[in-house]
């Protein structure tokens, strides 16, 4: 069976439904006219009986059957298929005059379905019982019902189509999300690679020292072997300490994508250590208010990735000198004192819904021209193409922040003159 094309245009279906809706509206209007017309015929029949006064007054027993029968016969038409004339007697009994015998032959005829009772006169002298031809109105009702079913079917098709589209969008979104995660991971690796160059440079020194000392020992020109081994151990300890402090391994190997409560101050601290080799002579200032925690639910290494990118950008923008200032603002207050390099802030209160955590990352570099600020968060936009910049760093920052429901903006730092990146994250758990 041929599978329907999900990308087929929707307008034929909408057009068909519009036409069905129009037809249903027309039929409803027609039905209204039909009912009004029928009512008019019934009213006219009653008026004719009232005008001729053939039923007399309730207290009068004067009856001329011939006149009533002629009037009743004349009142039957295409609509009124059957008509019975009932007179209200002085004692309250209802006597069927047309047909005159029916009360004797069918005493319970009034209980039969389909009779419409129409009073004749304000103080009824009698009643007309009519059976009307409902075939036309039944046909219109059936047509309306059919159109209604078709409309429901059309709506169902539309909804199914919409569901299909939604599923498709969800799948694409899911794929996009996976790609995004992959891009973030790749960018992390790229960042790690970029950072590794300087690390390797520093690592090269103890390795060369070890090599030279071992060579000298083998040539018999160096220190005694015992001293050499001690030196090698010291060099390797230093080497391991460097790697440990760097946290590169943990950063690169971080595979868990599970959310947990993260301290932004700690993430800032880890990020500063990670990109420390790029710092040069830049002075770093970190300010967080001491009376609250900057806790947010998220993936820890993403926060490190976020701040590492921002710090790296700042270091590279400032060359080898300048000031990097990191400030955290919670509950409307900026951190006032240097926080130092590490440490968990004392808990004064838990964040509440509606609070925002704001982290400003400012540098004293040349800043970003105003006309370029709008595009710095777009992918593949870089000012360091020559030095191997991928143009994905700030794009990844924006992705990480927006995934958490936050925003990231850039403007000019009024205090230290360079660029100021403002990360705004909702304090409530997400």
């Amino acid at each position: 069976m041929k599978r329907r094309d999900r990308n087929a245009p929707i307008w034929p279906l909408l057009l068909a439904m519009g036409m069905l809706l129009g037809a249903a509206g027309t039929l409803l209007w027609l039905r209204g006219r039909l009912v009004a017309g029928q009512q008019s015929v019934l009213d006219g029949t009653v008026r004719r009986f009232e005008a001729t006064g053939v039923l007399g007054r309730p207290e009068s027993d004067s009856v001329i059957f011939g006149e009533i029968e002629r009037l009743a016969a004349a009142s039957e038409n295409e609509l009124i298929r059957s008509l019975r004339v009932v007179k209200r007697a002085a004692d309250g009994r209802e006597l069927t005059l047309v047909p005159f015998y029916v009360d004797l032959t069918e005493p319970r005829w009034r209980d039969a379905p389909g009779w419409i009772r129409l009073p004749v006169g304000a103080e009824p002298a009698g009643y007309l019982y009519v059976r009307i031809d409902r075939s036309t109105i039944h046909a219109v009702n059936a047509a309306i019902m059919l159109l209604g079913l078709l409309l429901v079917g059309g709506l169902g098709a539309l909804l199914a189509r919409q569901r299909g589209k939604e599923a498709q969008v969800n799948r694409l979104q899911s794929e996009l999300e996976q790609r995004k995660v992959q891009v973030i991971q790749l960018e992390r690796l790229a960042l790690a690679g970029q950072l590794s160059a300087n690390v390797f440079h520093d690592i090269k020194k103890p390795v060369l020292n070890i090599k030279h000392e071992v060579d000298d020992a083998l040539d018999g020109t160096g220190q005694p072997i015992e001293e050499v081994l001690r030196s090698v151990r010291a060099q390797t300890d230093l080497f391991l300490q460097m790697l440990r402090e760097l946290g590169m391994e943990a950063f690169v190997n971080a595979a868990a994508e599970n959310r947990e409560w993260c301290d932004l101050a700690e993430a800032v601290d880890r990020s500063l250590r990670l990109v420390g080799y790029e710092r040069g002579n830049v002075q770093t200032q970190v300010h967080f208010p001491p009376d609250r925690e900057f806790l947010i639910e998220g993936i820890p290494h993403r926060f490190v990735q976020l701040f590492s990118n921002l710090f790296l950008n700042a270091f590279q923008a400032m060359g080898h000198g300048g000031t990097l200032r990191v400030r955290g603002m919670g509950n409307g207050e900026w951190g006032m004192a240097d926080k130092g390099s590490t440490g968990i802030l004392p808990v004064s209160r838990q964040p509440t819904d509606g609070d925002w955590l704001v982290i400003d990352v400012e540098d004293s570099g040349p800043g970003i021209p105003e006309e370029k600020r709008a595009e710095v968060f777009s992918p593949f936009v870089t000012g360091r193409a020559a030095s191997g910049g991928s143009g994905l760093g700030l794009y990844i920052c924006r992705t990480i922040v927006e995934d958490l429901g936050g925003t990231i903006t850039v403007d000019k730092s009024e205090e230290i003159g360079g660029a100021r990146f403002r990360v705004r994250l909702p304090a409530a758990s997400r």
Partner: protein
């Protein structure tokens, strides 16, 4: 202003005056009118013929025992087109046939007694009470009417109750129970001019049960059919009418088989002749060729179906002796019959 005056062409002749011109014009007008009068004098001198119609009277109500309206107009046209009838009419000096409707029984009675109609389609009661010598020549006959081999046609009156009445299920109706019932219930009747529907059954009521009329009152209807409908519908529970009309109605509605379930006849009257067609004494068939032709033509027209189901059979005054006798008896035992 200066100029010359025109000279008279004939200075010796007198000038014509305006009076002379007027007299001349008047004379000329009188001369022309006189010539026109002389030319038309043969036409004007003819004697004016006054139209003389054969006057046919009837009751202007469809519920009478005779035809009315359109059916009678058809009959009139047929009579006028009948060569024999027309020859006799012209021989008698009639220039046409006129139909004259009576508003009611009293109107017809008055006009019969004034000998206003040459032919009248009249109820039997009015014929029996007329005093100017009209003679019965035809009597109406419907298919449900009883008739004997010798041509007598009659109807019978009945007093009956519907199944709503307690009398319907009473095993034996006594004079007391009937009198008691009639003192409480109104009797539906078809009017006093229906011998079979009123006088005859009430006379039988007086004769058999010694009950003089309905003490509870009467409920008047226009015809025996209406009485039957009134009782069957429940407007009244007891009524008097012509039995033939009752049976015709039940047959029309397919209720003949349920007759005994629906109604119960309490009493049945003597046989009553049907309504007659009467002629003035001067048109009495034995003496008048026109009377004979009228009787024959009307009968033939009805037999050909010109009056629907209604037909006419030959009748004589003798047929209606019973009606006269019944009415006299009614007056004596029940009371005077009002119009």
């Amino acid at each position: 202003m200066s100029g010359t005056k025109p000279a008279d062409t004939n200075p010796g002749s007198p000038a014509p005056t305006s009076i002379g011109r007027r007299l001349y014009g008047t004379f000329r007008l009188i001369l022309i009118l006189g010539l026109i009068f002389l030319a038309l004098s043969p036409v004007l001198s003819q004697p004016t013929a006054r139209p003389r119609l054969l006057r046919v009277g009837y009751l202007a109500r469809e519920t009478s025992g005779h035809p009315s309206g359109g059916a009678l107009e058809g009959m009139r046209d047929a009579l006028w087109k009948n060569d024999v009838v027309r020859a006799e009419l012209e021989r008698e000096g009639f220039t046409g046939i006129g139909l004259f409707a009576c508003d009611g029984y009293s109107d017809m009675a008055r006009r019969l007694n004034q000998r206003e109609f040459h032919v009248a389609f009249t109820p039997a009661t009015l014929y029996a009470r007329q005093t100017v010598g009209y003679t019965a020549v035809l009597k109406s006959r419907r298919k449900e009417d009883s008739f004997s081999p010798n041509g007598r046609v009659w109807r019978q009156g009945v007093i009956f109750v519907s199944s709503r009445s307690p009398l319907h299920g009473t095993k034996e109706i006594t004079a007391e129970s009937l009198a008691d019932y009639l003192s409480r219930e109104r009797l539906a009747v078809a009017g006093t001019q229906s011998v079979a529907g009123f006088e005859a059954p009430l006379l039988r009521l007086a004769e058999d049960y010694n009950i003089r009329g309905a003490e509870g009152g009467y409920l008047w209807f226009e015809s025996s059919e209406e009485v039957a409908k009134g009782v069957l519908s429940g407007v009244a529970d007891i009524g008097a009418c012509e039995e033939q009309a009752l049976d015709r109605l039940l047959e029309q509605e397919g209720l003949k088989d349920k007759r005994d379930q629906l109604i119960r006849v309490i009493l049945r009257s003597d046989r009553i002749p049907t309504d007659p067609v009467v002629l003035l004494p001067s048109l009495e068939p034995r003496a008048s060729a026109l009377g004979r032709e009228l009787r024959r033509a009307i009968r033939e027209f009805s037999l050909r179906g010109g009056l629907g189901e209604l037909q006419y059979a030959t009748a004589t005054d003798l047929d209606y002796g019973a009606v006269t006798q019944l009415l006299d008896e009614f007056s004596r035992r029940v009371g005077e019959v009002p119009f």
